[in-house]
Symmetry: C2
C-alpha cells in the first residue's frame, strides 16, 4: 500500500458527520498513528443540499453511493447507510469484489450477510471491519477477536442497546410506565419514531449474533437468536426487582451448550452488586468470560456521533497499519455451522409476576401449580391489598428448565383468577467472582 | 514468516506456567486463530528441578535464559522473569537485536527501558509486545493503542494494582488497620513478603507510565511519576469516605496540562456512583477519556496465572497474525519528550483529615488557617468526643491548587493541637456523564 489511504464515505448522518469531523480535527495525529495519511476523497448521501454543519466542498460528491465501489482513487469505503439489503449491501459487495477495504457500522448487514461478505473479502484480499457495529465506542470487536483470543469463550453477554437501557433506567428512576417513558424518549430523540428495532430487541440481536460468531468461531446466525423485548416490563417488575436486589436489564447473551449455540436477547434480573447492574442510561457494556481470563468487562457509550466515529476511524487506522485479523477472528473456512440450542432446555432461575384477583386461596393455587409442575419456589412476595380487587404476586424460582416453566405458566394463564398472562424474567447467574 | 511460530519462554513462575497451559490446552484453537501453529520449543528458569505442576519434557531446557535469544529455531521470546535490569533486560535486548519478536509481562522493564527497546525492535523489524504488563488480563494496551486510537486522549486513569485494591477493600469491609490487613494478605499470598512495590505505588507507577506513553504519544517517563502509596490511609479515612459518598482507591492517572505530562499514583476519593468505585478486591480497571469516544471503561482480573497468560498469548497471536502496531502506538521517532507537569499547580478538590486535641477552639483554628491560605471549605465533619482527649476533624475543600494546600497543611502541622501530620486525599473529578 502507498503512504496514503484514500477513503470514500457513504452516508452522512450522525455517524458520517462524526467521521468527517474526526478525520479533520485529528488529521496529523491519525497520520502518525497510521503510518500514512488518511485522505478523505469522496462522499455520498441521499441529499446533497442539506445542512450537516460540516463543509464538504473539498470532497467529491456521488449521488449514487455505489459509485464509490468503482472509483479508482478510493482504497477504502466507509459504509454508514444502514440496512441489511439494498444499496448498502450492494455497495459493500461491490467494493470488496473490487478489492477495496470496507469499514462499516452496519450491524444488520453484518448480522445477516457477515459470513458471505467475509468470504468475498478473502477472495480479493480486501479487509472487512465493523467495530462500530457493536456497542458504538466500545472497542469490543477488537477486544474479543484479538485482546481475548487466547481463550475458549464460555459466555459473552451485555447491554447492547442504549435506547432500551435508557428506558429501563428512566422507568426505575421515575416509576413511570413503559409507554410514557418511550414517548418522552422519542420526543428527546433517544428513540426512533418506529422504536420496534430497539425495544423489541432486534438491534441487540444483530449485535449478539456478531459477537457470538467471533467468540465461538461459528458462522454468524442471526435467525436463531431468540428475542424478547422490553414492552412487557411494568413498573411493578422494576419495583419488585429492587426489593429482591436486582435491576431489570435487556441483555444479549450467547453461550455454547453441548455444541449448540444459545443466542438470546431478553430482559434479565441482574444482581445490583454486579457491574452490569450499574450501567445506566444510554451506556452499553459487554462481559466476556473465557477459560483463562475469567471475566473481562467493557463499558462505554453505545451510540452517538463521537463514540461511533471513534470506532469507525480505529478500523480505518487498523487497515492503514496493515493489521490483518480476519473479520470473525478466523478464516471463514474454519467458521463452524453450529446448530441452535433448544430454548426450552435452558436451566435458570426465574422471576415470575402474576396479576391476579385478590381473593382468598390465590396464593395457594399458584404455589400448588408450581409444585405440580415440579418447579421449586425460592421466595414469594405479595404486598397488602389493592383497591381494585386485583393484586400482584411475585415469586422467584430455584433453577428449572425454561420449557417446564413456560408450560406451567401456560396452564396457569387459564386460571379464572388470572387477570393478565404471567410475566417471567430470567435471573442472571452471577459467577462467584464477579463484583 | 512460515506457518509455524516457534516460541521460547524465559521464566516459569505463575505466569510462565499459565502460558504453557494455555498453549497446550487451546493448541488447535490458537492455531486456527493465528493462521499458523504456535510451537513451544524451549523453556528456561532458575531451577530445573522444581515441581511446577506441568510436564516440561517436550521442551528444550536452558539454564541461561539469554541463550533463547541466540537459538536459531526460536522466532519469538516470551520474557516472564521480571525486573528492569539484569538477565531479563539482556535477554530482551539481545532477542530484539537478533530480530526475534519479544512478548513480555515485565512492567518495570518497559517503564524504564521501553523507549530504547522499541527503537531496537524497529531497527531489526522485530515486534515488541507487552499487553500483560498492564492490568493483567484486561486487553488495555490494545484497547488504547488500537481500539481507541482515533482519539486525542484527555485522561487515562485506573486501579492498576490488585494488592492495594484488595487491602483497601478489606479495610472497608472489616474496619481494620492497614498493617493488620497487609499481614493477612501476605499470609494468604495476595501480597509479597516485601510489599513495598505494591503498597508504595511503584508497581502502579510502572503501569501508568506505560499507558501514558501510548495514550499521549510521549516517551515513557517513569521517573517523573509522582507516587504516593496507601500506607497512610487509616480506617477513619475509609469511614469518613463512606459518609461523604466516596470510596478510597489507589489510582494511577495521566493527563497533559499545557503540553506537560502529569503522571501520578495516589489514593483518591472516588464517588460511589462511579464505575471505578465498584471495582473490588484484586480486580483492576482503566478509564480512557478521549475527545470523541468520551469515557471508555475496562475491568477485569489484574493478575494471576490465567488472566496474565491470556494477555501474553494474545500478543503471540498478534505477532503470528502479522499485526504490526508499534509498541507505543507510533514509530519511536514521533514519540514526544514532554516535560513533567508541576505537581503543585494541579487544581483539585481535596479531603483533609486532622488528628487533633479535643479542645475548644480547634475547629475555629483549622477554619481560620484554611481561610488565611485562601482555601475554601466545602464541608467539615467532627464526630462526638473521643475518650482519649483527641479527635478527628475532616473537611473537604473546593477546588484549589495542590501546592497551596500543601503549604497550608505544612503550617498547620506545627500547631500545638495537631496530634499527627494532616493527611490529604484528592477527590476524583467525575465527568458529568459517568455513571
Amino acid at each position: 500500500m502507498s503512504d496514503v489511504i484514500r477513503v470514500g464515505i457513504a452516508g452522512l448522518g450522525t455517524v458520517g458527520r462524526g467521521v468527517v469531523r474526526v478525520l479533520e480535527k485529528n488529521r496529523d495525529l491519525l497520520a502518525r498513528r497510521t503510518g500514512k495519511q488518511i485522505e478523505l476523497v469522496a462522499v455520498s448521501a441521499r441529499s446533497r443540499n442539506f445542512d450537516r454543519g460540516i463543509n464538504l466542498d473539498a470532497y467529491r460528491w456521488y449521488d449514487d453511493c455505489r459509485d464509490l465501489a468503482e472509483a479508482d482513487d478510493i482504497d477504502l469505503v466507509v459504509e454508514l447507510i444502514g440496512g441489511s439489503e439494498g444499496v448498502s449491501r450492494e455497495l459493500v459487495e461491490r467494493a470488496l469484489a473490487n478489492g477495496k477495504h470496507v469499514v462499516t457500522a452496519n450491524k444488520a448487514l453484518i448480522a445477516h450477510h457477515g459470513y458471505d461478505l467475509a468470504k468475498r473479502a478473502e477472495e480479493t484480499g480486501a479487509q472487512l471491519r465493523f467495530e462500530a457495529a457493536v456497542a458504538g465506542g466500545i472497542p469490543i470487536i477488537k477486544g474479543v477477536a484479538e485482546g481475548l483470543c487466547a481463550n475458549v469463550c464460555e459466555e459473552v453477554y451485555g447491554i447492547l442497546n442504549g435506547t432500551c437501557n435508557y428506558i429501563l433506567t428512566e422507568m426505575e428512576k421515575t416509576g413511570r410506565e413503559f409507554d410514557s417513558v418511550l414517548f418522552d424518549a422519542q420526543r428527546l430523540g433517544y428513540a426512533e419514531a418506529d422504536p420496534s428495532f430497539d425495544v423489541d430487541g432486534i438491534d441487540s440481536a444483530h449485535k449478539i449474533a456478531i459477537l457470538a460468531s467471533i467468540c465461538f468461531g461459528t458462522r454468524v446466525d442471526f435467525n436463531s437468536v431468540v428475542v424478547t423485548g422490553i414492552r412487557r416490563i411494568a413498573p411493578v417488575d422494576i419495583e419488585y426487582a429492587g426489593e429482591l436486589g436486582y435491576r431489570v436489564k435487556l441483555l444479549g447473551t450467547a453461550t455454547m451448550v453441548d455444541g449448540a449455540l444459545d443466542q438470546r436477547v431478553e430482559p434479565f434480573m441482574v444482581d445490583t452488586n454486579y457491574s452490569l447492574a450499574g450501567v445506566e442510561d444510554a451506556y452499553n457494556a459487554v462481559v466476556f468470560r473465557g477459560d483463562f481470563v475469567e471475566d473481562s468487562f467493557f463499558e462505554g457509550r453505545g451510540a452517538g456521533e463521537g463514540p461511533t466515529a471513534s470506532s469507525v476511524i480505529a478500523d480505518i487506522i487498523d487497515v492503514g497499519r496493515g493489521n490483518v485479523t480476519p473479520p470473525f477472528g478466523v478464516p471463514t473456512q474454519y467458521l463452524l455451522d453450529a446448530p441452535a440450542a433448544s430454548r426450552d432446555e435452558l436451566v435458570a432461575a426465574f422471576y415470575v409476576r402474576f396479576h391476579v384477583a385478590d381473593e382468598p386461596g390465590v396464593l395457594a393455587s399458584i404455589s400448588e401449580s408450581m409444585r405440580d409442575s415440579h418447579i421449586s419456589i425460592e421466595s414469594l412476595i405479595q404486598h397488602g391489598d389493592a383497591d381494585d380487587g386485583r393484586t400482584y404476586v411475585v415469586l422467584t424460582t430455584h433453577e428449572t428448565q425454561e420449557g417446564r416453566l413456560r408450560a406451567a405458566l401456560a396452564r396457569m394463564e387459564k386460571l379464572e383468577t388470572m387477570v393478565d398472562p404471567p410475566v417471567f424474567i430470567r435471573i442472571a447467574a452471577v459467577s462467584e467472582e464477579n463484583n
